[in-house]
Every structure is written in C-alpha cells, then in structure tokens.
Symmetry: C2
Subunit: 494 residues, 2 copies
Amino acid sequence: MAETAFDALMAHDRATGALREVAGLLSWDQETMMPKRGATQRAEQAAALAATIHARDTDPRLGAWLEAAEASEHAPESVRALALLRRRHDRSRRLPARLVETLAAKTSAAQVIWADARRLNAPADFLPSLAEIIDLKREEAQCLANGGSLYDALLDDFEQGLTMTKLKPIFAELRAGLTALLAQILPRTEGQTAAFCPVPAAEQLALGPRIAEAFGYDLAAGRVDLSVHPFCSGSGGDVRITTRIDPEDPLTSLYSLIHEMGHAVYEQRIDPALRGTPLGVYASMGIHESQSRLFENQIGRSRSFAVWLHREMEAAFGPTGLDGPDALWRSANRVTPGFIRTDADELHYNLHILMRTDLEHALIEGDLDVGDLEAAWNDRFAGDFGRTVPSPADGFLQDVHWSVGIFGYFPTYTLGNIYAACLWDAIEQRLPSLDADLASGNLARILDWLGRHVHRQGARLTAEALIEAATGSGPDAAPLLSYLAGKANTLYPA
Amino acid sequence: MAETAFDALMAHDRATGALREVAGLLSWDQETMMPKRGATQRAEQAAALAATIHARDTDPRLGAWLEAAEASEHAPESVRALALLRRRHDRSRRLPARLVETLAAKTSAAQVIWADARRLNAPADFLPSLAEIIDLKREEAQCLANGGSLYDALLDDFEQGLTMTKLKPIFAELRAGLTALLAQILPRTEGQTAAFCPVPAAEQLALGPRIAEAFGYDLAAGRVDLSVHPFCSGSGGDVRITTRIDPEDPLTSLYSLIHEMGHAVYEQRIDPALRGTPLGVYASMGIHESQSRLFENQIGRSRSFAVWLHREMEAAFGPTGLDGPDALWRSANRVTPGFIRTDADELHYNLHILMRTDLEHALIEGDLDVGDLEAAWNDRFAGDFGRTVPSPADGFLQDVHWSVGIFGYFPTYTLGNIYAACLWDAIEQRLPSLDADLASGNLARILDWLGRHVHRQGARLTAEALIEAATGSGPDAAPLLSYLAGKANTLYPA
C-alpha cells in the first residue's frame, strides 16, 4: 500500500517531534544536572540539534507533501493537523539555518552567564550576551514579520494569532482595574504579618508526593528537582518539574510546586491517542499557563483548600507557626509590592507582566537600547510598585526568559490568568459544593472537568476556541478582575 | 577563502560528534533520571537521534570530501583523522537506516525490560527482547562482515582490528595461567573473612569528593549519581559517573567509584586541542578500560594505597570494623569465586570475561540459541567457578550489555586488564618510590605520566601503538599474569 502524502507528513513530523523532546531534555539537564564546565559543549550540542530540527522542518519534501495532502478531503482533526504543520513549515522556511543554529548556541551559553551574573549581581557580565541575543531575535522577527510588527512575529510563536493590537485594550482594561483595586486594598494591608517556622529543605521536598497525589501529577511519569528558576519540561510519560526552596518560608516551594504541577498535569493528560501527532501538544502557552495559575491560585490559594493544605503541612512539618487554615490562607495571599515576579501576589503579578511586556516590546521594536534596560526597568518599577529596586538580581536580572531568547512569552502569563479565571468561573457554575472538595483535598471532579475541556484536547482547538467551547464564551478580562476584587475584599474588608 | 574538503569534513563531523554526545546523554538520563513511564517515548527519541546521526555519517557529500581530502598531503594527525572518518563513513554506509533506527529503539526499550526482569528474577520477561536484539545485531554484523566472521565485525567496533583469531591465543594463555594460579591460591584462602561496619548510603557518597580529588576527577566537569549498573558517560567538560551502594559493604561503592573515575579522568584529560576533531576521543575501549582497571586495581587495591584509603574511610565513616590498612587491603582483595562480575576479585574477573566472550561469540555466530543461554551460562559457570548459579539475576541477567545491544565489548575488559598491567609495569620502572605516593594518596606523578602517555593522546594512536609508545613494547598478557601471581602470593603465601 502506497504511503499517502498525509501519512508521510505525519511520520516525518513524529520523528521531528521526538527530536524536539530531546532538545527539551537538553535544556532541562542544563538547568538541573549539567556540571558547570559542560556549558561550552552543551551550546554546541544545542546548536547541532536545533540545526537538525530546522533542517527537518524545512525539508523540501514537506512542501510537496503538504500541497498534495491539502488538496484532499480530511476529517476536521486532520485538517487542523495539516494547518499546524503548514504553519511550522512556512515559519521555519523563513529562518536561515545559520540564525537558528547561532541562536541555539548563544542562548544555551547565555543561560549560564545569566545565572552567574544574577548570583553575583553583576549585570555587566550579562549585558553583552543579552545585546547579542536581542539582535538575533530582531533578525528572527524580521524574517518572520513580513514587514509587520517585529514583536507580533515573536508573540505569534507562543500564542498563535496574538498581536499587540489585540493585547493592548485587554492589558489596558486590566491595568486600570488592578490600579484601582490596589489603591483601594493596599491601605488596608498595613500591619499584616506572616508567621512561619523555618522548614529544612528535605522536609519541604518530602511533602511533594502528597501534593502530587492531590493534583494528579503522576510521579511515575515525572520527577521533581531543584533549579534557580522553577520550570516544567517534557510531555506524555516524562514530564519533569523543578522547584526552589526557601528554608525560611515553606510556601515558596509549595506554591511553586503546585504551579509547575499545573503545567505538568496538562502535559501528562493530553489524549494519548493524539501523542506523536501535531495535535498531541498543548493548545497555546496562554492555555498552559492557565493550568498552572488555576492550580496555584484558584485552587491552591483558596480559603477552602487551605484547610487541607494546613493539615498536610502540620502533619509533615510539625507546627508551622500558622494559627490554623485561615492564617495559612492569609499568608499565602498577602498583598505586598515585592520585587520578584514569581513571588508576587495575584494583584501585583499582572503588573509585573504588563511591565515586562512593554519593556521587551520596546527592546524588540528597537525603541529601547539594552544599555538603558536597567534604568527603564527601575523607573517603571518605581512608578508601578512605588518601591526602589535594590539590586539587578531583584530587578531586570530576575527572570531567565531573555537569557534563553524567549521574547513574546511574558504576555502569555497574564493571558493564562485571564483564561484561568474564565475556566474557574465555568467550573464554579457547573460543579456544586466545590468548597467541600477543596477542603478535603479531593480535586477529582475539578481534574475530570479540566481533563475533558482542556487537558485531553491537546491542540485540537486554538486557545480562544478552547475557552469558548469550555466556558460558553470567549476569553475576557472581566472574570479575572472580578475574581481578584472578590478575593481582595474578603481578605481585606473595608 | 574557499573551504577545503578537509575543513568541510571536520566541520561536518564536529556537529555529528555533538549529536553523538546528545545520544550519550539520552542513555545517561535513561539510567539515572528518567521516570519509568518515559521509556516508550525515550525509545522513539533514541531512534530519531540514531537515524539523524546515521544519515549524517552516510551523507553522500562525505564520500566526495573524503576522496578529495585523501588525495592531498597532510600532517600525520590529519592523516589519522581522515582514516578515522573514512572508517566511520564506510561502516555506516553498510548499515541500512531502518536497522540503525530499529536497533536504537529496541535497545532503548529493552534496557527497562532487562532492569525489571533482573529485579524480579524473571528471565522470561526479557528473553523475547534479547532474541530480537540478537537477530538485529546479527543482521548488523552481516552488513559489516563482508562475508567474514560476524563476531569479528562487532569486535572491531570497540577495538579496531581485533579478531577472535588474534584474541584466542591471548585468552588461552590467560585462561591457563589463571586456572593454574587459582588452583594454587584457592586452597590457601580458606577461613578468610571480611569485616566491615555498615555505612549509610549518604555517608558513603560523601567520601566521593575526597576520592575524586585524589584521582584527579574534576567534579566541576562531572557528577556522581546512582544507577543499577555503574557506568561513565560523556566527554570533555561533562563526564558523569554512577555508582551503586551496598550499605553493608562500603567497598562496593568505593571501588566502583574509583573504577568509573578511571574512565572519567581519561575523558576529561584528552588534549583539549583535539576536542571536536576525530582524534578528540578515546583510543579504544580496551584502553578506556585499562584506565579504570589501573585506577581500581593497580592503585586502588594496592597495599600502599590502603594506608591512605583506610585513613580517609575512618575519618569519614568512623570505625569501619577494619583493623588497620592491611585489613582493608586484604578485604579489598579477597579471592572468592562470586557470581557477579563487577564484584569479582582480580583473579576471577577475567574468567567472567572469557566466559561471556565465548557465550556472546556463540550467540552472534548462531551457535547458541537464546533459549539455551541460561543453561549454557550456568553450565560454564559451574565448570569455571565450581559453584551453582542460584538465580538468573546472579547469572546471565546480571549485566546490562546485551540488553543495550552491546556484543563484542566484553573482551575489551580483559584487554583493559592486560593493557593496565603493561602500563603499570612501565610506571613502576620509571617512577621511583611509588609506595610513598600511594600511601599518602598523592597520585600526581602517576596522573602526570598517564596524562602524557595515554589521556592527552586521545585517538592519535591505535591501542597497540599507544601501548608500545608508552611502554616500549606491544601489549602482552605476561605482565598481567605476573602482577596477579605476585599479588596473590603476597596475600596468600604458601
């Protein structure tokens, strides 16, 4: 039986997908396991693999197979799969092999340089690498933009079809809403305190399996390690997460675990029937982030879930210094204008993202020089948060993204919050008596709902279509603002 | 300036080499870090990467470049580099892509099946995989053998130019010598005992850095993890080793660490100027093994080094139950016909290898059916060691090699012992007062000598030429037999 063009395409992409997974493993290893002196050769390995993947994605046979396959009738899922392959092929063909290879090598090397610069608070060590990466990303964007906005071309890689034109009104609405809410709430937060006992790192990690069990993270298909910047990596039967430990504050690691498990559970639960096909991946980075934020915030930081979590913490750690579940809930939701995005409360979190979005937009569009980045960051931070950034590590060096060439990704964090609030609204409407589930750590009904409407879907639908199919209406910032206002007013009543 | 064919070849192979390193990392990860449910997709990843590497090694441009480069005059090192590339290209072209890919997928999957079968002592679970792998390896050998011996074709992959015709007289001499020596020594070993205190795993591992320091293993370019079967993986700035811990017997892990460090130090110390070229790799597997065995035995199990090691053990573990360095030396050299190769004393070790060589030779040549392997193993073991194999895990399931498709490798262990004894003879002749160095754990002079004559050389010379250049005469089993006889008679005087 002759292989059809469609079958040839799918088989080709399946092997390329396996190599993409290998590239993911290289990054995971670099952040968790790789010895320091391996950095130089790792950059060569990453470059060789990126070049291989790019060569496969631009294989001239793909063009012919795509044309032949597109000319035939297909079931809707196959049509969607073809569209995704077409998009990747067309994007890849715009990028010169040399650029892809150079970017892979430079960003692999820059990760180590960034981590050292951050640790030593020495931005000058990192700026030359960052400047080089921004130049390369601008070059990439020029190849992809077709004369349009450079930043939009990068955005599209993480959230298909997203543009700054679409994003600006949403972010403006959010910014206005958050600013008003903070003006109302912040004065009421004076005098709030947090009280924890220090918990040794090993004990903090020992609670991981209980959390995993509650959230449905299958540890036989994953693992938990430490890294400077927590992340999730992998797919299917091998989805790994990392966390970082603050011995003074066990909540840091707990909520970072819950967040990364949100990503991981999504990857683990994509319909196995889709595995190895273009649909067997996440719908968009915004949807990915919605799962981590929903786990972390709507579930993890809810008043009811604090009942279960407090009990588990006391069982694992002994006395925590937290006087009951409500004290845990208040500690986990303290509103405070901190410097670090990943530690931010839900009200400030999106201000961090809005700021990074504007800064990276300016960097990519050529409106901000890398030499002026630190000052621009610090100015904007002072304006938005009313505090002076004490050091680069607490400022523009805090996030890994730019060092690994990830520009256009930050907005998907806020999109994720928006999607999460939409999904949570739907869950609350459809599943009665959720508080009892949350208080007993029984997330089965929530996981089942998310599994059916989000996880199992893979990339069958675009992000917008997925939200609409799951909730009955398209994504919208209103549910997020209303969720945040409701929670803030319960925590800090007038 | 136009790129010469030689330069094109070198650049091409450098990138392929980076991908080979990635393939090595996939295996390392599989044995140390990968979650259980990742096995299926890992097999796909390994297959996709193997296919990529094979496609690069058979790239038709290589043939033209090789012809053009071979037609020009070159310095000796470049001639050698060309010869190594020619060999790889010619070998690769004989192997169909489908076979390479299938072997990578099957052996990746079989590793997990083997580990489970070994743990559960359930050989039937593993035999179908093994049968499949042997069929594939026979097919590979047929492609390579050019009508000659199948097993020789596989041997040549690990030790260039080695054949059973060359090996048989050497192994026969060794077998005769060892059998005579054991007949003499074994009666004198009656009543020997070993005495250790149990040492918790974490404490055993904590001694690792001290051992690494003594043996020159740079932990900033390496790391130590646990695995079922200890191994070394990687090159240059990223050379990782594994060990396994027996809480009842700290010597298991110590000597496995020292052994793997022998491999690792070799890889770390190859001349950095050769890195990324065809010469920037080990000379042969036999030479590789000579470095691990020399570290483990000639140094690690010497009477003088026991002085240092005993002091370090007592400092790290507290009382070991060993009454002084000589008790440690005796314990580390106990002669006993055990079932497990990796735990074997120096006298029995090579009998294990001779047995595996004959069995795998028969499997590959089609003279032994996989269904008869267990019985053949147990019969031969009873004959050579005078004991009945109690279980498959203590018998033919003990080693990882066959599950990962490694046939023709076992003989290099004994070649390594032969080479190590030749090198140690030369070291003892050239470096006076070695005992003082060993007793103080100061291995600088030995490492310097090995660095100049072995490590830094990379693949500049073939194994035989390297031994001849280093010692003044070609490899020969006599130094090994004389070393073993001398040591055995000191340990167990008549």
